[in-house]
């Protein structure tokens, strides 16, 4: 188990200051924390501070029991002594070296630190056919694989993946993300994965930290952190669904074993994340008769929490996962909602956003 503890501030410009604090435990079996946020939220600055490429005005950062920077105590390890493997959005391979030369660069400078076996890294990331080539002849996905391999061979105690797949087109992105997932699973290197893409975060991390305007606004499980990711009054519900064995390719098994219809077809057994806004979920009594509306999805559950606000009641319903539904106070009264009562969540197929 490695603990990443961060609490630092940096005034970047007149209008932007970073003030980031979070702790993350990175156990070997699930060593990824995701740093999530829109562009301009301070993710890259945080990465630069963690890599030692910038210096905070105040605060500290440590990995395990080793302080990397502690302004008050005058500690500031230079980047080459932090053992953080940085993979940038565009890979930043050295253009004057071949792929083999790029891989050897970090390997030769790892100062006796343990690193995965070179053959293993080359196999896992399928780099063997690329070794004699120059970076300029590689595709975007190949470049990112080389960059990841190069970082691994430098013997990192922490991998910093700064939007490592976001410069790629969609098919290449999925493939590259598979490589990232497989690499982390296999080599178990503590990793900070930076992304502005919710589906990436859900897929790769067990812990997420959400940044906005230079501040941490949420941290915890990715589902919880991303639920509040939209601005405005509503919150987003996220749940897993798996495409079922059905002639219709859009039927899936949802929370609590329910059957739901998704707006997109998928292959049998394929798991996806689904997002439904709290405002898109209607409630109906558990004993209501056959559906009279066009909404296809009806999930039975039990009310676990009610929060009354001036113009809405936010109802948390356990349907296998907890879904939040926003209804008017009048509707809540008419339905006689109470904690523990049975209720059904109803939402249209086309109110679901499928995240892959």
């Amino acid at each position: 188990m490695t603990r990443l503890a961060v609490a630092f501030t940096l005034r970047v410009s007149e209008s932007f200051s970073l003030d980031v604090a979070f702790d993350a435990d990175l156990p070997a079996e699930a060593p990824v924390v995701a740093l999530f946020g829109p562009s301009g939220s301070g993710k890259s600055t945080t990465i630069a501070l963690l890599a030692g490429l910038a210096r905070p005005d105040r605060g500290s950062a440590s990995l395990g029991d080793e302080p990397h920077v502690d302004v008050a105590r005058g500690v500031n390890l230079p980047p080459e002594r932090r053992a953080v493997g940085l993979v940038a959005q565009d890979g930043l391979l050295f253009p004057h070296l071949t792929v083999a030369g790029n891989l050897a660069y970090g390997e030769r400078r790892r100062r006796g630190r343990a690193a995965p076996a070179k053959g293993d890294v080359i196999d896992t990331l399928r780099l063997a056919p690329l070794l004699p080539r120059r970076p300029s002849t590689l595709s975007g996905g190949e470049r990112q694989r080389v960059a990841l391999g190069r970082a691994l061979l430098s013997g990192p105690r922490l991998l910093l993946l700064d939007e490592p797949v976001s410069a790629l087109d969609l098919p290449a992105r999925r493939e590259a993300l598979d490589f990232v997932t497989e690499t982390i699973r296999r080599f178990r290197v503590p990793t900070l994965f930076v992304s502005h893409d919710e589906s990436e975060v859900l897929r790769i991390a067990r812990v997420a930290v959400r940044l906005d305007a230079g501040r941490v606004v949420a941290s915890g499980t990715p589902e919880n952190v991303l639920s509040g990711a939209r601005a405005g009054e509503g919150v987003d519900n996220l749940f897993r669904a798996a495409y079922a064995a059905s002639e219709r390719r859009d039927i899936a098994t949802g929370p609590g074993g329910s059957t739901i219809q998704l707006p997109r077809a998928g292959a049998e057994g394929e798991g996806v994340w689904c997002r439904v806004a709290s405002g898109a979920i209607a409630l109906e009594p558990a004993d209501a008769a056959a559906p009279l509306t066009s909404a296809r999805n009806r999930l039975a559950g039990r009310v676990v929490a009610l929060r009354r606000e001036p113009h809405l009641v936010r109802v948390a319903v356990d349907v296998g996962v907890v879904l939040q539904a926003d209804v008017t106070p009048e509707a809540a009264d008419a339905l006689r909602l109470a904690v523990g009562g049975e209720i059904r969540c109803v939402f249209k197929t086309h109110s679901i956003e499928v995240l892959r």
């Binding site: 080459e80 932090r82 050295f94 190069r150």
Partner: protein, 222 residues
């Protein structure tokens, strides 16, 4: 063909050009990199001072060097004491050429370093390279074309140097009579024929150097 004196002048110019280039390149690289990658107070003023020999009349530069390195100057006695007198020796040619060539070499190096993505050096640091290591193994190879072009420019400028050289080094055959000084002597002495041959030689050398530096500066690592 060239007379022995003319050949001597050509060879002396080549040697001095080479020596001046070797002297000028390390500070041009170091300062070119610093000015390309750092910001600090007084940077514009410092850069103006570095570029001064380019715009100052060469005779004035030569005179300032003479005052500095001459027998009564602040550095002259010390240099004589260690057996390295400068004024009116071949060393004076090297010093004058190097000072005159510095701004060109510095400017070419700075331009070359500015074209290197600074994130590459940062990336090298995260892979375990010290600042110097990253510079030598990543930045310098990336800027290689520009730095070689700077060397060729410095060499060409040194070979062509006259104004500061004549003041600091004089016109001693076999010791300080470089190609341009020899052209000057021919014009003053024997007349146009010898001057023509040497002048043509200068034109060929200068053209070759400029072409080489253009070619090198355009070359980028693949």
């Amino acid at each position: 063909m060239l007379s022995p004196e003319e050949l001597g002048a050509l060879l002396l110019s080549a040697e001095i050009g080479l020596a001046a280039t070797v002297c000028v390149l390390p500070p041009a690289i170091a300062l070119g990199h610093v000015f390309a990658t750092r910001t600090f107070p007084g940077k514009a003023v410092a850069e103006t001072v570095l570029m001064l020999p380019l715009v100052l009349p060469p005779v004035v530069t030569g005179y300032l060097l003479l005052v500095l390195l001459g027998r009564r100057g602040p550095l002259g006695p010390a240099l004589e004491a260690i057996g390295l007198p400068v004024v009116f020796t071949w060393r004076a040619c090297v010093v004058a050429s190097a000072v005159m060539a510095f701004p060109l070499a510095y400017r070419a190096c700075r331009t070359a370093f500015e074209a290197v993505d600074p994130r590459l050096a940062a990336q090298a640091r995260t892979l375990g390279a010290s600042r110097f290591d990253a510079f030598v193994t990543v930045v310098l190879p990336m800027a290689k074309g520009g730095v070689l072009a700077a060397a060729v420019l410095a060499f060409a400028r040194s070979v062509g140097e006259f104004g500061a050289t004549i003041v600091l080094a004089g016109n001693v055959e076999g010791e300080t009579r470089t190609l341009p000084v020899a052209v000057f002597s021919e014009i003053q002495g024997r007349g146009p024929e010898g001057a023509w041959r040497l002048a043509a030689l200068c034109v060929v050398l200068a053209l070759g150097a400029l072409l080489a530096s253009e070619f090198l500066a355009r070359r980028r690592p693949r």
